[in-house]
Symmetry: C2
Subunit: 409 residues, 2 copies
Amino acid sequence: MVLINENYLKLPGSYLFSEIARRVNQFKAENADADIIRLGIGDVTRPLSPAIVDAMKAAVDEMGRAESFRGYGPEQGYEFLSEKIIENDYKPLGVELNTDEVFISDGAKTDTANFPDILGVTNIIAVTDPVYPVYVDSNVMAGRTGAFNAKGQFDGIVYLPCTEENGMKPQLPTTKVDMIYLCFPNNPTGMTLTKDELKQWVDYARDNKALILFDAAYEAFIQEENIPRSIYEIEGAREVAVEFRSYSKTAGFTGTRCAYTVVPKEVKAYDSQGNAHSLNSFWLRRQTTKFNGVSYPVQAAAAAIYSEAGQKEIQANIRYYMDNATIIREGLINAGYKVFGGVNAPYIWLKTPDNVSSWDFFDTLLNQANVVGTPGAGFGASGEGYFRLTAFGTRENTEKALERIRTRM
Amino acid sequence: MVLINENYLKLPGSYLFSEIARRVNQFKAENADADIIRLGIGDVTRPLSPAIVDAMKAAVDEMGRAESFRGYGPEQGYEFLSEKIIENDYKPLGVELNTDEVFISDGAKTDTANFPDILGVTNIIAVTDPVYPVYVDSNVMAGRTGAFNAKGQFDGIVYLPCTEENGMKPQLPTTKVDMIYLCFPNNPTGMTLTKDELKQWVDYARDNKALILFDAAYEAFIQEENIPRSIYEIEGAREVAVEFRSYSKTAGFTGTRCAYTVVPKEVKAYDSQGNAHSLNSFWLRRQTTKFNGVSYPVQAAAAAIYSEAGQKEIQANIRYYMDNATIIREGLINAGYKVFGGVNAPYIWLKTPDNVSSWDFFDTLLNQANVVGTPGAGFGASGEGYFRLTAFGTRENTEKALERIRTRM
């Protein structure tokens, strides 16, 4: 008799964004004329920029000619792309990497969810609370947690609350943990850590032989000085951290799909005898067995991000979104909301007024303003009473949404 | 202290194709002038056909305009593609499916390797021997096997030998198994099962509440009558089988990356209390959490396969490859080799002469004929003494390779 993976039975109800889609669809069915503005799921709206489109089409043309056709590529990705990543995303930060420390993939969601495949199931994980749900759910599926409890959390996970009280900055755990998920600039709070603050985490990991899974998907949106763009700017991080990055938000690749993960050769995990093993070779083995590389035209498109024209175009898009962030942030402040984020990140995290629950605020915002956001409770127990808006809408919709929030809420 | 997944330590040495690459690179370093012909890894050589190129470029253009830009798509894939799959790949076989039973992905390797994520780790797996290594290695990684033993097999796996004696057709297991991997037309032997033969497996699975993971990646190459193209042509298969298909070989997508997996709603697996659960909803949960869908232009390219022009073009490519298969098959027979496959599949499986080991034959073939093939032993213990050649080379190279085998071996 074939058995299922019973860990899946621990997962409560629907996945956050499916539940949002369900409620929005129900509202639409009952209000066919409503002009709904989505500032929820965090999908971008700016099209692929011309340099990227041209490069991708040229690569498709190459695929149509026998002499330039490319079949299976390296599972780890083409060097033409990993070289550009190192040169443009890391060298300017003073971070040296080799191409075999960079793994091109189809998404940071895929990578953050799959990376624990190579780690033991008894590791204790720590996550910030609120947190991107994929970190938690993928570990539940893998059996790295206990049951879903009455607090709306999973037994066995160490949650690190990020609230108004601590300025949305997680405190070091008081019990030992083995795998620590950090995402900065943060989804959903939009907040960042300074280099000194991040260094505390690297030091903790070194002292405890822990692993940091650092999600830097939003680094391109950093506007201020002294905010680390990569965890490898912190001394010693190469020994204890893997870093996930994505073109989804940076270059509008949510529908094009390309990302990468950095696994320095120094990063180690241990077997039960205490022997150290390089995670780089484990991840390579995992990827060569369970993945077949990213579509060549997609990798060619990603490489074009680093061209002079590509850089100019994507920086213009980032400015566009960050101007949206300012509109949302200032609009909410002027309307009397308490807000976080939106300065170095495309996310604005607001405190719901009068302590209403975040799903109630979702329903009110949808009904009265016809604006879709993301309830903070969907990101964890400490997200209750908070709400996320994203800067990825069009300018027109963003302005309209804030106007409606001002006048209808 | 962060622990690694110790199951990875059970995996011996390199992955098959990495080892081949290593030997070929070494040979090239020592014989810079050698004109090496690769009939090994099974990568295609025909470029993407014009209908596919045009559709993909048009989709990239859509991505470059705000009004037609697509961000996150459904993780399960776009309905425009799953509808075409159902209409073209299944309806003509008398198989009815709904779009939510089709999951578009970036590759059959990815899907066959990841699908067991939703299944219990105590399930006993059965694989044919020889077998596509990914089925075995992914289950080793998941902890579904014991150690690698002196026979070159993993303890705990039920191997079903496919040899000259049984005409490369696996016999039903004599002990109970829970997960059965079947790939027909087969990689590496190139052999097929009849509907009656496949029905025995479906009946076994129904009688034993087992699951069949049916890899139909090569169905497009079937030339003869009465060979099932889908396992769902067999009565009752909807209750016990998932089916993996791929555009890699069918339409030259090895570098473009698109495939799909069919999970009928009737397919069940059981919890430890014996309650049945629909694998369709488990797989949907897995994919929505750990995957973010296939690149839109890639899905648009895949949809073009089903256009009138697309069908004409890919059928011409399939004929081209199957003509290569005939050249290889007949060339080998005339040269005195015992061969299997190559009639309904792009693979030709030959018995090595004088019982030399398959890696020795690999080295001899590389050294004397400068032809790269795949040693049968790489596919399992019963593959020892066999060797795989593929029909995916160019016509010129295929003819040249056979001429060299005739004259230099």
